[in-house]
């Protein structure tokens, strides 16, 4: 871009370029057209000269042949009417001037005889129309067209008098003379100048029209650009250059810079985001791990709670069952007890009043004893569900266990049962009904002894305390309880012993007593190894709610 055009508006530059283009185009086209016109005029000029020379040479053949000057003047007169013809000269074959219309130059001194003869002899000397060539001489002011005057002076044979085509066209023609047609170049120059003037006028008009069109085109072309630059300014983009293209360049550069910064920012944000994502991922992993642990813990607690609920459910079901059985047993006991007491009283009265033989006396005694056993059984049934009328008090656990072991010592020794005790010093007293506690211990010891074989075994009694609970554990090394029976051993009248050796109420009574004391009893057994019962009793304190519940 030229330095002068820098800083100009786009419209001005476009206009300048278009005007320069149109000017160059006008000059080029004008030059080409002028040259073409000049060449065309020159060609017309030469054709005119040749044609005139041909016509004149043909028309004056007879006049030249006869050297008839007057006829020559008549023949030449029409040629002189041509405005371009300045002079006409006719010569005979010897070069003598037969006619000269006069002029500023004497062309008869420069007859190109040799050139015309050479042209006539050379192959192709005749032009395509069969005419002899015209030789011309040119100087600054005029062109002289020379042409031979040719004709046959005589026929060679008599046949040629009759027919054409025997000797060929022009064959045997002789040079009768020469004609010279002098054309002035003045008119050619005038017409050339006229062409130049016309072309200059046309070119000027074309340039003006092109200028107007260029103005309109530049205006229309610059309008969208100006709007764009205005839009940039409206958008707050600073455009310093007054030139629209410069403004576009500045805007583009500014936008590119902004875009680069934006890309850099995006890159930074992307990198920071990735880092944050990594951190968050790690945190999430940790949280997930904690959640997993919490879930495991929760699941463990749920399992524990579920086990507790299931145990409670079993306990509740057992309790309900025992309660129903207890109510039934108490009702039956009341109904059975009265007749049994009546029968025993009768039997005792008979034993006392009658003198019975030994066998009868033994039978009566046996009947009384059986009545007592029934009474005892009925009492047990009544006690199973009936609230105790005794008041709970602080009871020494170890003393109660010792009293029951003493009570059972004779049986244990007879059965060769070895008793092992392990008392925890932390176990002191519990707030309970002493008789019921002792009955529980006694039932457990009796049950353990009955589980041992005839050859004996070992019964271990141990205590422990923790968290306000006293645990009394009675283990034996007996035959154990099958798995399927463990669920039912606390049910009333459930027993695996013979009817004579057990009533099936011992463990049920224990269960009911412990339940009323707010404790619980558990059994662990393995078949062939032994069974262990654990009684857990709250240590309790005086005035506690258990007092009410234990007392019924």
């Amino acid at each position: 871009m030229p330095a002068e055009l820098r800083g100009l508006t786009f419209r001005t530059r476009v206009l300048a370029y278009l005007l320069a283009f149109i000017l160059l185009l006008t000059l080029a086209l004008g030059t080409v057209l002028v040259r073409s016109q000049q060449a065309s005029l020159r060609m017309q000029f030469e054709d005119e000269g040749r044609t005139l020379a041909h016509l004149l040479a043909n028309s004056v053949r007879l006049d030249v042949f006869a050297s008839d000057h007057e006829a020559l003047l008549r023949s030449v007169a029409p040629v002189l009417q041509n405005r371009n013809v300045e002079q006409v000269v006719v010569l005979d074959a010897t070069g003598e001037v037969l006619m000269n219309t006069g002029g500023s130059h004497d062309v008869s001194e420069r007859v190109p005889v040799a050139e015309m003869a050479a042209a006539g002899d050379a192959p192709g000397a005749r032009d395509p129309r069969g005419l002899p060539r015209v030789v011309w001489q040119e100087d600054g002011e005029r062109i002289v067209f020379w042409r031979e005057v040719l004709d046959r002076l005589a026929y060679e044979t008599p046949e040629e008098l009759y027919f054409e085509g025997l000797g060929g066209s022009g064959g045997g023609a002789s040079v009768l003379g020469y004609v010279a047609v002098v054309l002035s170049k003045e008119r050619l120059r005038r017409e050339t100048a006229s062409v130049v003037r016309r072309m200059a006028a046309v070119g000027g008009g074309f340039f003006l029209l092109g200028g107007v069109l260029a103005f309109l085109v530049s205006r229309e072309a610059a309008r969208p650009l100006a709007r764009l630059v205005e839009a940039f300014r409206d958008q707050g983009i600073t455009v310093e250059s007054q030139d629209e293209l410069g403004a576009l360049r500045d805007t583009f550069t500014s936008l590119v810079t902004r875009l680069e910064r934006a890309f850099a920012t995006i890159q930074e944000l992307k990198e920071g985001l990735e880092q944050k994502v990594a951190e968050r991922t790690r945190e999430l992993a940790r949280a997930n791990e904690e959640l997993r642990r919490a879930r495991d813990l929760l699941e463990e607690r749920v399992r524990e709670r579920t086990a507790q609920l299931e145990a409670m459910h079993r306990h509740l079901r057992q309790t309900e069952k025992l309660s129903a059985v207890g109510k039934l047993a108490a009702s039956l006991a009341h109904e059975i007890n009265n007749p049994v007491f009546g029968v025993r009283n009768v039997l005792q009265e008979l034993q006392r009043k009658l003198d019975l033989d030994p066998e009868d006396a033994e039978l009566v005694a046996l009947s009384i004893e059986e009545c007592n056993r029934i009474a005892k059984l009925v009492r047990s049934l009544r006690e199973f569900n009936r609230p105790s009328s005794e008041v709970p008090a602080w009871v020494d656990v170890h003393s109660s266990i010792g009293a029951m072991l003493t009570l059972c010592r004779k049986r244990f020794s007879r059965q060769r049962i070895r008793v092992e005790t392990s008392y925890s010093p932390e176990v002191g007293r519990v707030f309970a009904i002493e008789d019921q506690l002792k009955q529980v211990i006694l039932n457990l010891l009796t049950n353990a002894a009955e589980a041992l074989p005839e050859e004996g075994g070992t019964i271990r009694v141990s205590t422990s305390a923790s968290n306000g609970v006293v645990r009394i554990r009675v283990e034996d090394t007996g035959c154990g309880i099958p798995e399927e029976n463990l669920e039912r051993i606390f049910e009333p009248f459930f027993t695996t012993k013979s009817a004579a050796s057990g009533t099936g109420l011992g463990l049920s009574v224990c269960y009911g007593i412990v339940e009323r004391h707010g404790g619980r009893i558990q059994v662990e057994s393995r078949v062939g190894e032994g069974t262990a019962f654990t009684v857990e009793l709250p240590i309790g304190e005086e005035g506690n709610e258990r007092k009410g519940s234990a007392g019924g």
Binding site: R61, L62, F65, A66, L153, E159, L161, Y162, F163
Partner: protein
């Protein structure tokens, strides 16, 4: 047995006569390929082919024609080789140059046609016969008198050595028809223009005769220009002048000339000779009229005679 003897005799007689009347070898030499020569050649061939020998047993063998055109490239050499190497019974020369060429072969019978002035061309040959290209003065006078009945004075430019005899004969004939020949004698073509000037106002028609001394391209143009300037009709002998401004042309019938040459050839081939009874062929002249010129000159033409005449 008697029938076999008769057959043998007829066979022997036929073979002897057939050898005597064998097919002729005819060479046609033509100066150039122009329409009048072609018409004459074609008529000659057709006429001779149709004519049987004048004597002997007729055979079915056609004449053999061999044609050469001297103006063709190599035509002259080919014709010379052929005539030197082959037994030729007859040469027909059409045109003056052809006659000059055939004149050298003096052993071969020579017939010519379409030759205006044959005598100067016959140097060696003494047996040549032919049909010269000419129209007799009687025909000129007759046509002038019949076509242009108002013409009384007929101008003619002539040279004594060329058409002097023609003019003398024509003058006598014209006188018999009530017309007068106004002659202008010249010794060279350069005099023609001046002599034409002498004829201005003295003639009603101008004859353009085939005279090499008088007629050149320039003098022909001068005569035609005279005709135009003086409003005098020109009666000429060739159609080419008719196109340039002459009004009437007396043109020989080229086909008839070919037929006449065929008659002569037939006579020669049958050894009757040119002096035989069949050597004469009536010539015919065609009259060509440039009616446009006649209209422009205002010349009265007897159209009735033209339509019926020959």
């Amino acid at each position: 047995m008697r029938r076999w003897w008769l057959l043998c005799v007829l066979l022997v007689v036929g073979m002897g006569v057939g050898e005597a009347a064998r097919a002729a070898e005819v060479v046609i030499v033509q100066s150039a390929r122009i329409r009048p020569y072609e018409e004459a050649r074609q008529a000659f061939r057709e006429s001779l082919s149709r004519r049987p020998p004048v004597s002997g047993t007729k055979t079915l063998h056609p004449h053999q024609f061999t044609e050469f055109v001297l103006a063709d490239p190599g035509g002259r050499q080919a014709a010379a080789r052929f005539l030197d190497s082959r037994p030729v019974d007859l040469i027909l020369a059409i045109g003056g140059k052809a006659l000059s060429f055939a004149d050298r072969f003096r052993e071969i019978p020579l017939i010519y046609t379409m030759v205006p002035d044959p005598e100067p061309r016959l140097v060696f040959h003494d047996r040549a016969v032919g049909v010269p290209l000419s129209v007799p003065p009687t025909r000129w006078v007759e046509v002038t008198e019949k076509c242009l009945p108002k013409v009384q004075r007929i101008g003619v430019v002539f040279s004594p050595g060329g058409t002097g005899a023609f003019v003398r004969e024509a003058r006598a004939l014209a006188r018999l028809q009530g017309m007068r020949i106004v002659g202008a004698e010249v010794r060279s073509a350069h005099e023609v223009r001046g002599r034409l000037g002498d004829l201005r106002g003295r003639i009603d028609a101008l004859w353009m005769l085939p005279d090499l001394t008088v007629l050149t391209p320039q003098t022909a143009e001068a005569m035609l220009r005279f005709s135009m300037e003086e409003r005098v009709p020109v009666i000429t002998f060739a159609e080419k002048y008719l196109r340039r401004g002459a009004m009437i042309a007396l043109v020989p019938d080229y086909a008839r000339m070919g037929q006449a040459a065929a008659v002569l050839a037939e006579n020669v081939l049958s050894d009757v000779g040119s002096g035989g009874a069949r050597s004469k062929v009536a010539q015919r002249t065609r009259i060509r009229v440039n009616t446009e010129v006649a209209r422009k000159l205002g010349t009265f033409l007897d159209a009735a005679w033209l339509d019926g005449g020959d």
